[in-house]
């Protein structure tokens, strides 16, 4: 009671400030995220400094805006990063300059008090010898702000520059692979451009020294489309001009490029073939990943060379089926590139692995870029541009379909109504558009034009194009009344994108406008209102519903395919088990992730390393709908413990020891008041780091639980899948409660080597497990009047169990007589059967003496028992029990019988709500709580009682162990022959007992209790005292029960 209060209280404290990591609705982008997205920076970057500033380009153009500094970048943008800006920064003006590309920063001695810097970049220096006008190569930045903040910015910049010096070698590698470098670096003027656009085989005597960098399969197999029609050459000329002009003479390209309005326009009209790949990289930001991870792609290929996986298999299936109409993919060269890129990505991001459609997208990329470029662009695509599209649950795809539908409803209500009325499902049409980024829907040349803008402006482009398609075809679509008609209208539209949009117009200019051009205009003019912000908002709005329906689908499917074991649980039990399984699995994952993050934050203040950030998928997790996370195959043992706390009370640890700052007096009303601010913060952090989650019951860790885990882990993976858990649960609670089955089950749990014997250690462990599982006083609901068994009664049953096990155990025979043992075993079984048939009236067991009502007294042992038991406990005399013995011992006691018949199964409560709160006290136990404290220190509340019980159990185990030790001493005095004789008598006793046990079953009363511990005897007080005197042993056992 108190502990649950405490948990609620702590949960309350901790839940306030940080948004729970598992809550999918809390996805408002943070400032850092906005910053990264705005400038297309890797996940390793955070905004460190910002300052208002005026940018002056060598050309003389001025822009006012803000300058930002992150760990590895200096960025400028006239508009602040926000999700509401119509286009993101890369679509607008500014630059994203890696610090390693800065060669020199000079403080300008300006005429006034102004604070100004002049920046010379890599490209400025590289060409400064050839261009005399040194001054113009520089970008000047005039700071606006307090002198101190200017200084601070510069200071940070200086440090950043120094730390990034090591990256210069990577920059060199990167720059060499950029086509723009080749375009401008090797040729003096337009004639150079002309040469390079003439085709791959252009022979050029002046430039034999340097081969052009890999600009995709197109260089070998030709780029799709008619170069003349695409006006590729003029496009290239315009780009060369832009690259040259915008940052001074022969300056500013690839990483040092400055974006001016023309940049944007040039992309809208379509990129030239050879620059396309580089510009895609640049506008999506994937180039920065490549810059900082220069060997990653090759390393992955090398590391996973020859390795197999499910993804690799799936990739293999699709290699021949990716843009098969393009010549490059009818060739081994193209196929191999595709294989490597898809394979490498599947290893890099196993959460995504491989999804059909990725083959098509990647194939498209490979036409324009090298393998390595495609690899990083694919990463950026999957992680940032269309997150969740290709994931295992494809939640991103489904979510965006939902978003698209709602946008259609909003912007084209009449069409929407028509769709609804004619029962046409929009997403059957639009899903492939989004999933394959239109590559599969439109003729390639047009799809690439869409991609040009998409990489620059982001996912909103997919929506704008989609809406425009529907708008343009609206009238025709209003006539369509079923999916089929709907689809064929759009199919024919796509096939005629190159035709005139206004074929019958008198205006020649209008006639020249193609349908594709019209599409672009409608998309970006008419639907200009669809911004990134719109999309983010809409995604947030629909996310929960989409995830929920994915989850219910997944649940239905998974449960259906679980196999025959699952039929032993009721549908409701199955459903609850599923919820509990994934609830724990994902909540735990989210929690551990958060803890890891927190730890990292604590450990290293900030790791400035620019690396990584590829495929990290730092995003969300913690829901089935989001798909499995890396390496997740099931529950490990700790997770299993947590799972058990939700289905079995006994799996909850007794003390709340690891919940921090447990107040000593729970009733205290000033609970919250008792914490100072600092203390509360500390508590909060601690709770944040609580591996079990603030407010969750802490799981016990008992050897019994480990055994269950191992038993359920039938695939030996050290992990339990849902199937394992369901089968496991089915085996303990499923179907009709079968006492013999349950007894066998326990026996097998402890028969480690499966030889049909449980040895002395095993018997002790079973004892401990019985005590552990029943320590809350639960041994099974009673049907009738009978049965309010007290914990004393349970204890005595368990200790009786131990005693009898030892009494009737078989001695291990010397190895040479192994054959004999076998015969004996068989005999045992036969006897059991025989005896079961005949009912014996003889009762060799002790007759119970009633001492007080409702409580059974310990029985006086047979005089001979002592010696036998002593011998049984002699560790030098190896012994074991067999299944029949075990069965007999269980059946000889009413309490144990009940426990195995029902109690154990009933201790699992698969359906929540049908059980009292896991940690709540058993009212019966509370009622019978002794009025005097068991131990002075631990007097109050539930814990006292629980401790009492556990201690009691410890005492039994300790007692047994103590006696074992005692026997050890005795052994030294006794002779060997005596033992042999006694062993024989045990066998005889065994037989007698079997008769008795059977008789007992038939009469429905097994009354063989007795807290059979001679010295310990009855009273708890004494027991307690004793337990103190065996201090060492006890505390070591306590660990097993409580930790």
């Amino acid at each position: 009671m108190f502990s649950s209060l405490l948990q609620k209280a702590t949960a309350f404290i901790t839940d306030v400030p940080p948004a729970s990591p598992t809550s999918p609705t809390s996805s408002r982008p943070t400032k850092t995220t906005l910053f990264r997205n705005h400038f297309r920076l890797p996940d390793s970057q955070t905004p460190l400094q910002e300052i208002t500033c005026e940018l002056t380009l060598p050309s003389g153009d001025h822009y006012a805006g803000k300058l930002y500094l992150s760990e590895s970048f200096l960025c400028f943008s006239p508009n602040p990063p926000s999700s509401s800006s119509t286009a993101s920064a890369t679509a607008g003006i500014g630059f994203t300059l890696p610090l390693c590309a800065i060669r020199r920063v000079e403080r300008l001695h300006s005429r006034s008090y102004m604070f100004a810097l002049a920046i010379t970049t890599w490209h400025g220096v590289a060409n400064s010898t050839s261009s005399p006008g040194g001054k113009e190569e520089r970008v000047t930045l005039q700071f606006v702000g307090m002198r101190s903040s200017c200084e601070a910015f510069c200071d940070r910049l200086k440090r950043g520059l120094r730390s990034q010096m090591g990256e210069v070698k990577n920059l060199r590698i990167l720059v060499d692979s950029c086509y723009s470098e080749y375009l401008l670096g090797n040729s003096g003027g337009y004639d150079g451009v002309k040469r390079t656009t003439d085709g791959a085989g252009a022979d050029d005597s002046r430039k034999k020294d340097k081969d052009p960098p890999d600009a995709g399969l197109g260089m070998i197999f030709k780029y799709p489309g008619d170069t003349r029609k695409l006006r590729d050459r003029s496009k290239m000329r315009l780009w060369a001009e832009y690259l040259r002009a915008n940052f001074g003479v022969e300056n500013g390209r690839n990483v040092t490029l400055v974006r001016q309005p023309t940049f944007h326009k040039l992309i809208r009209v379509g990129l030239p073939n050879r620059l396309r790949g580089e510009m895609w990289e640049l506008s999506s930001g994937s180039i920065y990943l490549r810059l900082f991870n220069p060997t990653m792609y090759r390393d992955i290929l090398q590391e996973y060379d020859g390795r197999h996986s499910h993804s690799i298999e799936e990739i293999e299936k699709d290699l021949n089926r990716s843009l098969p109409e393009y010549r490059g993919f009818q060739d081994d060269e193209g196929i191999s590139r595709l294989r490597r890129v898809l394979g490498a990505y599947s290893w890099r991001n196993e959460e995504v692995g491989y999804c059909q459609a990725m083959n098509i997208v990647t194939a498209a990329l490979l036409i324009y870029m090298s393998e390595e470029q495609a690899f990083f662009l694919l990463s950026t695509l999957c992680d940032r541009l269309v997150p969740g599209y290709y994931s295992k649950t494809m939640y991103g795809t489904l979510l965006d379909q939902r978003v698209f539908e709602s946008l259609v409803e909003k912007t084209m209500p009449i069409l929407w109504e028509h769709l609804v009325k004619s029962d046409v499902q929009l997403s059957v049409v639009s899903l492939p558009w989004f999933l394959s980024l239109y590559i599969n829907s439109m003729p390639l040349v047009f799809a690439f034009r869409v991609l040009d803008v998409f990489f620059l402006e982001g996912p909103k482009v997919l929506f704008q194009i989609g809406l425009a398609i529907l708008r343009i075809n609206g009238e025709e679509l209003l006539d369509a009344t079923d999916d089929g008609a709907f689809i064929s209208i759009l199919k024919s539209y796509f096939s005629r994108l190159d035709e005139s949009a206004h074929p019958r117009s008198d205006n020649e200019k209008l006639r020249a406008v193609t349908r594709f051009q019209e599409l672009m205009v409608v998309a970006f003019k008419e639907f200009a209102g669809i911004t990134q912000n719109t999309i983010i908002e809409q995604r947030n709005k629909h996310k929960d519903a989409v995830l929920s329906s994915i989850e219910s689908f997944a649940k239905r499917t998974q449960l259906r395919n679980l196999g025959p074991d699952s039929r032993r649980l009721t549908p409701e039990e199955l459903s609850c088990t599923y919820d509990q399984y994934f609830g724990v699995l994902y909540e735990r994952q989210g929690r551990l992730q958060m803890i890891a993050d927190e730890m990292e934050k604590l450990a290293t203040k900030k790791k400035a390393a620019a690396g990584s950030g590829v495929g990290g998928n730092g995003g969300e997790r913690g829901r089935v709908g989001l798909g499995p996370t890396t390496g997740e195959t099931g529950m490990d043992y700790d997770c299993f413990r947590e799972f058990l706390t939700g289905v079995a009370k006994w799996a909850v640890a007794d003390s709340v020891a690891s919940t921090p700052a447990e107040p000593t007096q729970p009733e205290q009303s000033g609970f919250f008041g008792s914490y100072g601010g600092a203390a509360a913060a500390a508590l909060q952090r601690k709770n944040l780091l609580n591996p079990w989650g603030a407010g969750n019951p802490e799981p016990a860790d008992h050897e019994f639980m480990r055994r269950l885990f191992r038993r359920w882990d039938t695939d030996m993976k050290n992990q339990l899948s849902l199937g394992n858990v369901v089968s496991g649960l089915a085996s303990v609670v499923g179907g009709k409660k079968d006492i013999m089955g349950n007894i066998n089950y326990w026996f097998e749990l402890y028969d480690d080597d499966g030889d049909g014997k449980v040895d002395r250690e095993g018997i002790l462990r079973i004892t401990e497990a019985l005590l552990f599982v029943t320590r809350r006083g639960d041994v099974g609901r009673s049907d009738g009047e009978e049965a309010e068994w007290g914990d004393e009664r349970i204890l005595s049953a368990v200790s009786g169990f131990t005693r009898m096990c030892f009494e009737y155990a078989d001695p291990d025979r010397p190895k040479k007589e192994e054959g004999v043992i076998k015969v004996d075993k068989d005999e045992d079984e036969d006897d059991l059967l025989e005896l079961a048939a005949s009912s014996s009236d003889e009762d060799p067991l002790d007759t119970p003496e009633t001492v007080s009502p409702g409580e059974r007294s310990p029985t006086t042992p047979h005089p001979k028992d002592n010696a036998k038991a002593n011998l049984a406990l002699d560790p030098s005399n190896p012994l074991h029990i067999t299944l029949p013995t075990f069965r007999m011992v269980i059946l000889a006691d009413e309490v144990l019988e009940r426990f195995f018949e029902r109690g154990f199964a009933e201790s699992f409560k698969l359906i929540p709500g049908s059980e009292p709160q896991a940690t709540a006290a058993n009212p019966r136990l509370m009622a019978r709580m002794p009025s005097t404290p068991l131990t002075p220190g631990n007097a109050k509340g539930l814990r006292g009682v629980l401790d009492g019980i556990v201690d009691e159990g410890m005492r039994v185990a300790a007692e047994v162990r103590r006696r074992m030790e005692e026997m050890e001493d005795n052994r030294e005095e006794e002779g060997e022959e005596g033992e042999a004789a006694d062993a024989k008598s045990i066998r005889e006793g065994d037989r007698d007992l079997l008769k008795g046990a059977e008789a007992d079953i038939q009469e429905g009363q097994g009354q063989t209790d007795g807290l059979h511990i001679e010295k310990g005897g009855g009273s708890k007080g004494e027991g307690r005292g004793r337990s103190v005197s065996y201090g060492d042993q006890i505390s070591s056992r306590v660990v097993e029960f409580e930790s």
Binding site: K317, N320, R321, L399, V428, L559, R560
Partner: protein, 244 residues
Amino acid sequence: MASRDEAPKLSSSVKLVLLGEAAVGKSSLVLRFVNDDFQENKEPTIGAAFLTQKCTLPTRTIKFEIWDTAGQERFASLAPMYYRNAQTALVVYDITKPTSLIKAKHWVSELQRQASPGIVIALVGNKLDLAAPVLADDDGGEEGGDAMNGGNRAVLTAEAKAYADEEGLLFYETSAKTGENVQGVFEAIANAIPESTLKPRAGAGGFAGGSGRAGAGSGGGDAGAAGMAVNLEDGVRAKEGCAC
């Protein structure tokens, strides 16, 4: 072939959905049926493809509205969107890949529980041309062997047939490549569709009758495919019952 002088022929459109593991040849079967063509390298289906084809029988003319779905596992959650209101389904596996039959069985049980009641299901083992010719039609098939090299049946006809009988499915082995049995499957299906579920050609689609569309806001529910639940729920929900 059939005499034309009987009662007016039934003419009706029928929604058919193809399900099955990736690359078993669903799209190829459709291509063979619709265009009598075969492509060695057929692009994987993204989401789904839609085609129509008429099938003329002595007693009825059926216009199939075919939804060819994507086979990869992760697309499975989209399937309800396509099989809703389907009167018939082709569940396809590849006779050289035993796992594809397991997947097919999953689809069959999903359809039996979630699709329109009375849906006609055909189990189709495709790529029959890859089975060693001699063993094509009896159980003497050698165990799988090196499926890599083609020429290897790995699923025995008898095994699949027994399963199909048990579940009450039509059963065929086909080759989209040679065209063997392809027409046969579609004709058998056209014949197997109970008259009662056929309706005049005019309004395609809503065979599940009566269920009517729930309002756009009908969120939640246990319905299958995410997101699109709005449209998809009714067909499925009617027989939801339990969670599995």
